[in-house]
Subunit: 385 residues, 4 copies
Amino acid sequence: MAENGARKIRLGMVGGGKGAFIGYVHRVASRIDGDYDLVAGALSSRPEVARESGKNLGLAEDRIYTSYEEMARAEAAREDGIEAVSIVTPNHMHFGPAKAFLEAGINVICDKPITATLEDARKLLEIQPKNGAKFLLTHNYTGYPLVRQAREMVASGALGTIRVVQVEYPQDWLTEPVEQSGNAPGAEWRTDPARSGAGGAIGDIGTHAYNLARFVTGLKTEAVAADLTAFVPGRKLDDNVHIMLRFEGGARGMLWASQVAPGNENGLQLRVYGDKGGLEWRQDNPNYMWFTEFGKPKQLLTRGGSISVPPAASMNIRIPSGHPEGYLEAFATLYSQFASVIRGDGAEYEALLPSMADGVEGMQFITASVQSSNNESRWTRLSEV
Amino acid sequence: MAENGARKIRLGMVGGGKGAFIGYVHRVASRIDGDYDLVAGALSSRPEVARESGKNLGLAEDRIYTSYEEMARAEAAREDGIEAVSIVTPNHMHFGPAKAFLEAGINVICDKPITATLEDARKLLEIQPKNGAKFLLTHNYTGYPLVRQAREMVASGALGTIRVVQVEYPQDWLTEPVEQSGNAPGAEWRTDPARSGAGGAIGDIGTHAYNLARFVTGLKTEAVAADLTAFVPGRKLDDNVHIMLRFEGGARGMLWASQVAPGNENGLQLRVYGDKGGLEWRQDNPNYMWFTEFGKPKQLLTRGGSISVPPAASMNIRIPSGHPEGYLEAFATLYSQFASVIRGDGAEYEALLPSMADGVEGMQFITASVQSSNNESRWTRLSEV
Amino acid sequence: MAENGARKIRLGMVGGGKGAFIGYVHRVASRIDGDYDLVAGALSSRPEVARESGKNLGLAEDRIYTSYEEMARAEAAREDGIEAVSIVTPNHMHFGPAKAFLEAGINVICDKPITATLEDARKLLEIQPKNGAKFLLTHNYTGYPLVRQAREMVASGALGTIRVVQVEYPQDWLTEPVEQSGNAPGAEWRTDPARSGAGGAIGDIGTHAYNLARFVTGLKTEAVAADLTAFVPGRKLDDNVHIMLRFEGGARGMLWASQVAPGNENGLQLRVYGDKGGLEWRQDNPNYMWFTEFGKPKQLLTRGGSISVPPAASMNIRIPSGHPEGYLEAFATLYSQFASVIRGDGAEYEALLPSMADGVEGMQFITASVQSSNNESRWTRLSEV
Amino acid sequence: MAENGARKIRLGMVGGGKGAFIGYVHRVASRIDGDYDLVAGALSSRPEVARESGKNLGLAEDRIYTSYEEMARAEAAREDGIEAVSIVTPNHMHFGPAKAFLEAGINVICDKPITATLEDARKLLEIQPKNGAKFLLTHNYTGYPLVRQAREMVASGALGTIRVVQVEYPQDWLTEPVEQSGNAPGAEWRTDPARSGAGGAIGDIGTHAYNLARFVTGLKTEAVAADLTAFVPGRKLDDNVHIMLRFEGGARGMLWASQVAPGNENGLQLRVYGDKGGLEWRQDNPNYMWFTEFGKPKQLLTRGGSISVPPAASMNIRIPSGHPEGYLEAFATLYSQFASVIRGDGAEYEALLPSMADGVEGMQFITASVQSSNNESRWTRLSEV
């Protein structure tokens, strides 16, 4: 059973075979709180890899699949079939599995971005999930306790009316043309329009930054003015993203995402300023958040530590403040709370967990930004695309 | 199966019933890498709590025990009996279970300090474990990747001959007499000599700091000069620890541990200086470590990131640098590597994992410090006690 | 004499009477290295303030002026007349004095921005200074030793070809409409188009950020796309500045300046990324700078400390690393090096010290940004305005 | 005149010739606020150096001396003689000049430690200064605004009863035997008992750390248990200092000073914890101070910024918060406030400025620590020595 005494959810996985980073992350996330049992998988499109990977993970022979269609069909037919599936394939392989499993009545946990194209994302919205199957998009940064806290603080008015939102996600791993080396598959598909869609850095990390700002502030984006660049010679997709944002109600923002900024590993950072106060949070040291009430000293809030405001109801804190939690725990919170939703006792999480609608909005953001960038950075409304 | 394809170890737990912090931590640690299945437990000395806790964790009725003796006997007799047990009771309840399970041929994972008294620790050393059952002491901070890296760097001579070791572990949660409030059981037993032993802060956190310094530097302590204080009126054990250290070979150190230092949550910090360089690491931001080669700029090493020295062979890195790992992952590394030891394929970890001998040394450290403090801070050799 | 044994320069001041912040700063800056003697002043347009302030500063009665025209005339006529004058009035009062003193053959040290309008700045360029009188614009941040170091590192190719430049200058002191309170003269003129010119935050601090990026990278700006906002109701000039930058040669940048970001005092920060490395510097802790060679650990360079690259020839380091220097010392470096220029032995500084041309470029930046912002953030070339 | 309109003090200097670091620092400190005019000096014991240095500093020929005795006599006899003298020679050359000038009725500004021996310090106490000449000991760190603020906060009870004081001053410049190189005069005299006295690191920087703790907490030290070490082969004085402290009233502390800790430039740090709160301050980023009220989030106080407590009356803040002040400004504050004392309008500063009594206490601290270290770290009372 799960740590909280609830029954475990039977889980399958599409993608995530040997050597895949994000599949591994999803598996750990599913284990941390004990809410899932991984029992089936179509872990690779290459049959031998699928089989070896499945065996390694202890899957029963007859539940190691080599195609997701087959898996959806077979698992839906079993009495003890999976109740949820994690889709951890490259972007262009999200739509097919998501459709197949939802229509088979199996809950879907899907990596971001939701699809490779806005068109696909919209088609997903039209699907009729069988038996009310649910969908979770793993914008995992929303699972950090202090991100939840930040969202509640903004909602409660602790910052006053939001004016300025600065969000950034710099990395450096694509500073050189590693995708042309032949031995960096993760770099390869992420820089390939056929598999990633029209956005490079903007789809891979820009969309995380966008979603984080959206999640915390609750502000709806009106329009973007974007300047996307591919700095590395021969690269087909953007590796640096500069965007100005206009939000409904008048707030303004900037978003910077880069994969060519030496010295930055995963420097996701959000800063939000209102007429009463400001908040600053970084994911590389995620157990701390700056909070300033205008005219008072800066306060360093800690995850679950002494605070000047009530804790966020929805945050999942596992260990005492001062003992760091990290990326995997934040990811696990999405898994654990989605397990509650699946079991029918997670109503309070539904509004918080990243949804299909968030996924579509993310694709609008990507699409509008690419259009703007192709159009001399003209202000482009998300509602136009 | 475990993430790495190895079979799972059947695990039991003594202590760790509802509301207990450290039992929960051990369970999560056992799950993260998928190496264990929790199948039995004597989770509380209070039968109802034991039963309710066991049920909540999905244990079979017949494997929920109310005494550890019974559990050791019954599990040893089962074909599918547990192969390892986690002991997560207060200090004075470590010795009995450890003896019982080791003599029953069941591997033991024991929280620190190893026992409440040095005498008990030494008796433990004399036990003949059946079938070569192994013992792991969960000095969990040694599982942090950069702590492993630090150990290897020191061993490789990157710092030259070590001269100065500064280690500290300040907290603030006992600033006020919460143990006298009647509703802080964790504070209560930790400040009670009958359950904690002769040391308060020194046993609870000082021993972690000591072990960390020992693990990283490899230096053997010759003598301590200690000044232990109980600042809070009515407190029976020390809540602040000042110690000067002399190491074999001439290095010198200082150790500070405190539970009454407002503004410190779990500020474990180690700084090591040799004649060629220095290292600095903090557990509240554990994915970063300062390394200075004398005469060159300080370098900020990151967990698994770009480094100027080869990575530590024994570190367990789960996700890319820049994505933080934390306390639970470090703890899980001990569990996972001990699982390898149990399975017989973890020879390379045996010298690294905190052992019974480390536990005895920790008790010598506590005992010598208490004696020194009672004796006008006289230099007291660990070998004297 | 000056600390270095050179003779002192006779200095006058226009503006900077009682209560004025920036005049005080200029005076301290002139004293630190001992290169100047303040001997004359038109410290206020209000005669009594001028007189009282002059007396307080020990000026001789006959060298306390109430108009800068008179001062320029009288001092130029004296045998022992001033050799340099500091102009520390509000922006719209820069042009007149600068012209008067230059035409009188007196060297000018002028606070930034150079004038209130681009037109005035250009007119200044056409002036024929008598006797080759020189002009210094106090973009004081260029005086920080590590900023000089950064400039040399970029120039030497340590970062490779520059791709991305992120610069920001957030403050919070105008979060509320203090300029409407009647007792904040500094806020009042800075938000008044008649005295500040067409830019608010962009002129006051955006231009500092712009100049800093320009100084360090050497990159020439091609065009800006700007979104300027006045968030505080009733405010006549921008208090938040979002700008995307395109540099000649293909580098891209972002500039954020804000006076309404609670929790930021003077958070000027520059980050520069090339294809070989990155640099990061903040003025609120200016004695440290991050330098990353791609693929190696981040290094924390210190002012004058152990470095992996030769020190910048032009930096003025006064005390050992680890002892912090600050804002006043950086400012003093401009004064001191300009003194060398005046004495005729500062040829190596002339290319470094902010000049009239830099001032005109700053005004182009302001003007182009305001135009862009008024024109739906259209990319606007600096050469167009 | 001084910036505040007061008349300038005529200043002389003993020591501080070409190449001397601390003499230069004193001169800058005397200039920043404009309170002094340097008009005489015995800048070196080597006549040519004295002359060249004096000329470089613009001293009149007849006020360049080659002996301090002669200087004291001659200046005391002049109508326009110096009113104060800065003594910036090595430790063993403090006593003689201090005595000579005080007995000549000239105010003395003396670098620390006050003398090379406790005996000399006590003899200084017995001197009868002519005309009430005053004495300032430049424990310059006490001039930092936030150090003043810390002192007031402790005094006001913001931290409650002080329990624990952790102070440290690590450096790394003596990691190697530079004093044996023949070209590091500063290192040479600091490691020479004949010129430094019985303490090495403890006299050079340990005494600064001690004084800082004393200044901020107001606590009187009862006894020390010290372990001093000379790590570098051939070094005659300690280069690493470990001390446990017992204060009157029951507080306890630790002091670490080191000159062999690679990666530390001037890492002076003070942490003070009481039963209501804690304070943490570092001199390498001195414009920030952590303040925690127990049970509330940590606050980052800034120099002169938004604060939760009233500002310290005696702090000298020159520029807005967010613009860093540094070491030279803190030093200048001592000079400036001593100028007020000399002029007779600085009564409020007299209790704050480091005095002869502080100097004697510092020597007691050094002497007791050396005795303790020589005596197996026995607790040694300051009143015993």
